[in-house]
Symmetry: C2
Subunit: 96 residues, 2 copies
């Protein structure tokens, strides 16, 4: 299985989502494909900062990416989120 399909370990997952800016991006991309430009317009940080955070989410396997012409679209991988939360629960609350 390639790295790109491996779920992040609990620590990697936690680090990836442990930032306000990233969580805001995650919510914005939760249920729709969003271009980087749209994400930037929705945030109060610069475009390079958004790209930086998108790279972290991408490296953690938490977003899907699609290229279309000049634009790049991102969407949160909700199944991956659910899976990671499940791993967290199983790791730290095995009996419930």
């Amino acid at each position: 299985m390639p790295d790109s399909q491996k779920e992040p370990a609990p620590v990697e997952f936690a680090k990836a989502i442990a930032d306000n800016t990233r969580q805001k991006i995650m919510k914005f991309c939760c249920c729709n494909w969003r271009s980087v430009t749209d994400i930037v317009a929705h945030m109060r940080v610069t475009q390079p900062t958004v790209s930086h955070h998108l790279a972290i989410l991408r490296d953690a396997g938490l977003v899907d990416v699609r290229h279309e012409g000049k634009q790049t679209f991102y969407r949160l991988d909700r199944k991956r989120i659910v899976n990671c939360c499940g791993v967290l629960e199983h790791t730290f609350a095995p009996d419930e």
Copy 2:
């Protein structure tokens, strides 16, 4: 409701668990009360470092604390963990 009973916001929860040392402590305290001394013996960091991480978990409301004589015992609050994971899922994967 006092702060000590409020669940941490998704960002606070993620930050609290976004560290290898803390996750190791969390696993060790998952299903049993553990004294600080026992936790230190189980880890490869110094006692003050363990105390530091315990304070972070305590501030995030993720552990229960009990004093007994000279010793202090910690235990992971598994229900809180489950609840936080649920909030995460609901926040970032509302439809699944």
